[in-house]
Amino acid sequence: MELAENLRNLRKSVSFKLLIRRYGMLIVFLVIAISLSLYSPAFRSMSNLVNILQQNAVYAIVACGMLLMIIVGGFDLSVGAVAALSNVTAAYIFKISSIPLGIVGGLLLGVLVGVFNGILISKAKINPFVATLGSSTLVRGLLFVSTNAEPVYGLPSGYTVIGMGSIGPIPITTVIAGLVILLTLVILHYTLFGHHIYSVGGNEEAARLAGINVDRIKIATYGIGGFFAALGGLILLSQSNIGQPAVADGLPLTIIAIVVIGGTPLTGGVGNISAPIIGTLMLGVISNGLNLLNASPYWKPALTGLIVILAVASERYWAQQGEN
């Protein structure tokens, strides 16, 4: 009788710990979102929630690629430059040829830069910070040279459907982000390649000894990261309808922050798809909420920083409480 009681208690506390450990950041996020919706009727309106999803689709997409690169044991500081590269290249091809060709061209260049990063890191053994910072500067510099830093104007207006249109109530950009998230989930958990990403990030030497072609896994992962960054650049293009060489300049750090806030350690080998989703929504909801609450623009960066630190700190605190 007593034994059964104890067992039940034990199971209860274990599941509570597990809950906090696995969903800590989600709970913090829900607390923020629910308090905002109680406080502000404008926040909880359907159209605002839809806007939040649309405004942050680019971040979610690029963050999925970053998640893979962080799990494999690196990260990528060139996602902003890659987004700008596909943004400008696609705009240019739209003008001289057609929209489908421009999309393909932009994505292809993204993959190329990603693969280049992967080769620098795996074959030339340059650490990811230097390799991707270097390729970022190189790509951005070549963009400035080839365009004189001038935006590409005069694009067909049909393309803005992607950035502005919606399928039913759901914005097209959100649908694209959803597909990217699904694809990342499948890669990570239902393919051998995904399994290898975890192995390489967890212990590169062990992975090599187990017969995994470590270099190829890294190159492919950075290629996918480049692809998603280029996709983000194409969506930015569909919102402004001008190709801008200087677009997305602060993107890489924001994206890395999203993945880390979502609960991914930078050490590699660990992480799952909830990180880009929760991290993106967290930053998106904070920004939107501060706008709706009429926060002063001078206070907004400081408040954002404070809320992020508090959120991550409280999650860590609860997780430790759960472990003890």
């Binding site: 309106s45 605002n48 806007n51 405004q55 004189n148 830093a149 402004s240 309808n241 801008q244 623009p297």
Partner: protein, 320 residues
């Protein structure tokens, strides 16, 4: 001596560098009478494209040599460019600083070296000797913005404001000019403001947030300091919020198109081309002794308001 592989590599690398060097040299042997150093805040910003064109065209027109150097958007880099000009002993410097105050010490050095200085597009702070300032006044830009808002929505109303990157002089002065005009001449109130860092995606998000926050009838206009407000204007029209008037700043090709389509009410046109041209023209006149030609201490260029009524008369300031 045995030539090792490594040694061969050095020779090849050395030859390659040697091959490339002549390309970077200037073969323009025909010496011009005057050499003018022009330091531009950041030549990669699209806005400056037409400014650079103005500099170059005037250089051809008056047959002077204009050395254009990029300040790369960084005060330290700008200072080292100016020091280089002083070392080269150029005849005159045209300076477009990112920070009016921070550039003062090095301009004083130029004064000491006897090199005259013209400030263009962005002014130089107190304490340095400057022949004149050629450019637009961002405070007056904001003032013109106020006039346009009044023209669009009348003497009273509520507006939301999308600002550029906080701390840039355009952001600060345009805001002060707008605020002062509205306070002194109207009962229009800025009910909310957001910094969108001169970015289209951020300005779009800010517009969406404004429209969520203020239902129909609660907001008369959304004003953006730069052209990036145009994305939000398209969004508003698409989502049935035409009652909100959109006013942008500057006049690139996409803003012009949106004004023609009726999506943007109007904009303030700051054209950088005449600033570049006039700066070199002034430099030439000063050096050739026609000092009375210069308008001092400030040569402000006109900042016209562009709306649907006169859009045809103005070609875009850039991106055409």
């Amino acid at each position: 001596m045995k030539i090792t592989n490594k040694f061969k590599l050095y020779i090849i690398a050395g030859l390659l560098v040697g091959l490339l060097l002549p390309f970077s040299a200037n073969f323009d042997v025909e010496a011009q009478e005057y050499t003018i150093g022009a330091m531009v805040w950041d030549t990669t910003v699209p806005f400056y494209t037409n400014y650079l064109n103005g500099l170059k065209d005037a250089a051809d027109e008056y047959d002077v040599e204009v050395l254009i150097k990029n300040g790369q958007g960084e005060l330290n880099q700008e200072i080292s460019v100016l020091k280089q000009f002083i070392a080269q002993d150029v005849d005159l410097m045209i300076v477009t600083p990112s920070d009016a105050e921070g550039i003062v010490p090095v301009v004083k050095q130029a004064n000491k070296a006897g090199i005259p200085v013209i400030a263009a597009n962005n002014n130089i702070g107190e304490g340095a000797e400057v022949l004149t300032y050629v450019g637009a006044d961002d405070y007056r830009f904001g003032w013109q913005h106020g006039k346009l808002v009044e023209q669009a929505i009348g003497n009273t109303g509520k507006i939301a404001y999308i600002m550029g990157h906080l701390g840039t002089s355009a952001q600060i002065k345009r805001k002060n000019g707008l605020q002062d005009y509205l306070d002194e001449n109207t009962d229009i109130e800025i009910v909310s403001s957001v910094a969108a860092d001169w970015k289209y995606s951020k300005a779009l998000a800010a517009t969406q947030d404004f429209l969520s926050k203020y239902p129909k009838g609660d907001l008369d206009a959304i004003v953006s300091q730069g052209p990036e407000g145009v994305a939000g204007a398209r969004y508003a029209v698409k989502n049935g919020r035409e009652e909100v008037k959109f006013i942008t700043g500057d006049y690139p090709a996409d803003v012009r198109k949106a004004i023609k389509e009726g999506k943007v009410y109007g904009t303030v046109n700051q054209n950088p081309y005449p600033q570049g041209f006039l700066a070199v023209e002034y430099a030439y006149k000063w050096l050739s002794g026609k000092k009375g030609f210069l308008v001092t201490p400030n040569a402000y260029l006109y900042l016209p308001l562009v709306t649907e009524e006169n859009v045809e008369a103005y070609p875009p300031a850039w991106g055409g």
